[in-house]
């Protein structure tokens, strides 16, 4: 049995831990494990090679992915899907383990529907893959957000400022809500709960009146603030999966808040810091459990499924269900955060 493993989409800490778990669990079953380079692009280009134990040793704590990644969608490339099938044949790959977010997994689903044996492993720092409570990379990302909040509090206090932190998360508020809650943020803005400048300013003013002359405001890149119109974007040209690059709301918001309240605002756009660094405990363990579970699915010939975490149990969800659903922020978390502003 020959297994091909790939990592697609954005970087997230924990990918290497997952690759390592797939490889080791696979070898225990007597499978051969091949690495496909740079996500789906590797299958388009036939960039596939056997993984050796040397390559996965010591990679558990490393961020990034030893296999490289890309946002390539083979179905948007001329002859792409044919080239993928050719590569599967020429490298005699029996099963594909696709580690990625919903874009990567959507390609996996399409191939599965064309008869390829595919197993999915959910990864994204945004935690917005349906069917699983958590995805690889999310916990590490919110640790970065929390750390930024911790670092910005003293300087906000010293200068009586409003520190605005723009975080990633695309259309889901998980990163902002969880990171903000852990970081003691005073205002958290998420896409699932549109807000208004009036409301935001009123809350900041209320804090001032209580003697709290500084605030930390965490805003999700996809948050919607009524007076600002639609979501703020950096690049309107969509990528191969139809996504535009969000970003910029932090600066816009800071300008408006400062103009309306007179409070000095400073902006920190966390950006790719959220994607980097060594994976946290939670991500290392999750990625490892997922990798092992993927091999278990293969052993049971359960193809077309994605491994998932529900509560503390590892389970499997059909890819069709995953890609038909959504995983937006559990609003209970958001309500809890509001209690603390």
């Amino acid at each position: 049995m020959r297994i091909g493993v790939l990592t697609g989409g954005g970087d997230a800490p924990g990918l290497n831990a997952a690759i390592r778990a797939v490889a080791r669990a696979g070898w225990r079953e007597g499978y051969e494990v091949l690495g496909i380079r740079n996500g789906w692009l590797g299958l388009v280009n036939g960039d596939v090679a056997l993984l050796s134990p040397d390559e996965v040793t010591g990679i558990l704590p490393r961020g990034g992915t030893i296999l490289g990644t890309s946002r390539t969608n083979p179905f948007k490339i001329e002859n792409g899907s044919q080239r993928v099938m050719d590569a599967l044949r020429s490298h005699r790959l029996d099963v594909l383990v696709a580690i990625g977010g919903d874009d990567t997994l959507s390609v996996g689903l399409k191939l599965f529907q064309m008869g390829v044996h595919v197993v999915g492993v959910p990864k994204t720092m945004d935690n917005d893959v349906p069917g699983t409570d958590y995805t690889i990379g999310f916990d590490s990302a919110v640790n970065v957000v929390m750390d930024a909040c911790d670092k910005l509090h003293p300087t906000a206090e010293a200068h009586h400022r409003v520190m605005v932190i723009e975080v990633m998360g695309r259309d889901a508020g998980w990163v902002a809500a969880v990171g903000g809650l852990a970081g003691g943020a005073d205002v958290i803005l998420v896409p699932e709960v549109p807000s208004t400048l009036d409301d935001i300013c009123a809350r900041l003013r209320a804090r001032h009146e209580r003697g709290k002359t500084f605030s930390v405001l965490v805003v999700s890149e996809g948050a919607k603030v009524k007076e600002l119109g639609t979501q703020v974007v950096q690049d309107t040209k969509p990528d191969a999966y139809g996504h535009v690059r969000l970003g910029g709301i932090g600066n816009v918001l800071a300008r408006e808040v400062e103009a309306r309240t007179g409070y000095e605002c400073r902006v920190t756009v966390l950006g790719h810091l959220q994607r980097g660094g060594s994976p946290s405990v939670f991500d290392r363990v999750l990625a490892t459990r997922f990798g092992v579970a993927a091999i278990a699915l293969i052993k049971q010939e359960q193809f077309g499924y994605m491994v998932a975490l529900r509560g503390n149990r590892i389970t499997a969800v059909p890819l069709e269900e995953v890609l038909g659903g959504s995983h937006s922020l559990d609003l209970e978390l958001f309500e809890i955060a509001s209690l603390f502003s």
């Binding site: 961020g63 670092k151 300087t155 200068h159 920190t268 660094g277």
Partner: protein, 323 residues
């Protein structure tokens, strides 16, 4: 009982609290009373003070920020601000003042010295641009934070051919950027002290891509003529020639926050204590700072009259190592 006043002014820097603590504890040890002035020179003008005892500074050595808060106060450079400040010191019977801060703050200290106030300065700023102090309180922490960010970003460059622009603080001084670049293994660094031709930078990065570098890191000082925002604009226009996809991260105020490193705690403690020793010995009108690795006192008029220069040899080193 003689009384010492102390304030923190200008941009906050990790280690300021450690310095305050050292000032308070050392003064108390020598039988002096300490009055803290809140919000820097703005507090001096407004008469916002708070008594500081040895117990009030317990547990603050590891805290970022400053328990006395800080402010930028242009009013202090003129009247009536100046006289109001002097009156506050008189009203509170302060026999001497310790000013913890950077350039602007030490200018204020110099003005007070000229007006006859016994004052001693302690250099603190993450920009490291203060003459008379080869390294100031807060720099090491800021450098470590910037470095951690660079290391973190490097791990995300698994996506194909990525170049990262990382902008660090420093105002008009390229020290933080240069040190971060060398210690972070960056391919290029852009600082205010050197004229950067963005064309040349594009060429350098393209050549690096051709040499087989899968990703590139460029550290940019916020005060450079071509800062991250301007460079990103330029790179976008020349996207095809670059050889890399470019992403920019502006580190911002996280560089000011967080717990001071061991180096900053030690530096702040030694300088704070030394400042008080100066006061006790009656040697005023100076800035306490490290010079050639030793604690030294530099007359404030020299501090405000001179500009600190950056050792550009490290720039050569950075270039060679980007091979």
């Amino acid at each position: 009982m003689p009384r010492l006043a102390v304030l923190t002014s200008g941009g906050d820097a990790p280690g300021m609290n450690a310095a305050i603590r050292a000032v308070v504890r050392t003064a108390t040890f020598y039988g002096w009373d300490v009055t803290g002035v809140r919000h820097g020179y703005a507090g001096l003008i407004a008469g916002e003070t708070v008594p500081l005892t040895a117990r009030d500074v317990g547990g603050i050595i590891q805290l970022g920020g400053t328990i006395l808060h800080s402010a930028r106060c242009p009013e202090f450079h003129e009247e009536p601000g100046r006289s109001q400040g002097l009156r506050t010191l008189r009203d509170h019977r302060a026999d001497a003042l310790v000013v913890i801060g950077g350039n602007g703050s030490q200018c204020g200290a110099h003005d007070l010295a000229e007006a006859g106030v016994p004052v001693v300065g302690v250099g603190s700023t993450i920009d490291n641009d203060l003459y008379g102090a080869e390294i100031t309180i807060g720099v090491d922490t800021a450098l470590n934070i910037a470095l951690e960010a660079v290391d973190r970003l490097k791990t995300t460059a698994s996506a194909l051919q990525r170049a990262f622009l990382v902008e660090v603080m420093g105002r008009n001084c390229g020290y933080l950027a240069l040190m971060t670049a060398v210690a972070g293994g960056a391919e290029a660094v852009v600082i205010p002290e050197m004229d950067t031709d963005p064309e040349r930078l594009v060429e350098d990065l393209r050549a690096a891509a051709e040499r087989g570098k899968a990703h590139a890191m460029v550290v940019v000082a916020e005060g450079a003529r071509y800062n991250a925002e301007k460079l990103i604009g330029f790179f976008r226009e020349h996207r095809d020639r670059l050889g890399y996809e470019v992403r920019a991260t502006i580190l911002g105020h996280v560089q000011r926050g967080g717990a001071p490193t061991a180096f900053d705690r030690l530096l702040a403690t030694r300088l704070g204590a030394a400042a008080v020793e100066q006061v006790i010995a009656g040697r005023y009108g100076v800035l306490i700072g490290l010079r050639r690795g030793e604690i030294a006192a530099t007359p404030l008029e020299e501090v405000v009259a001179n500009k600190k220069t950056l050792d550009l040899r490290l720039l050569d080193l950075a270039r060679k190592l980007a091979t």
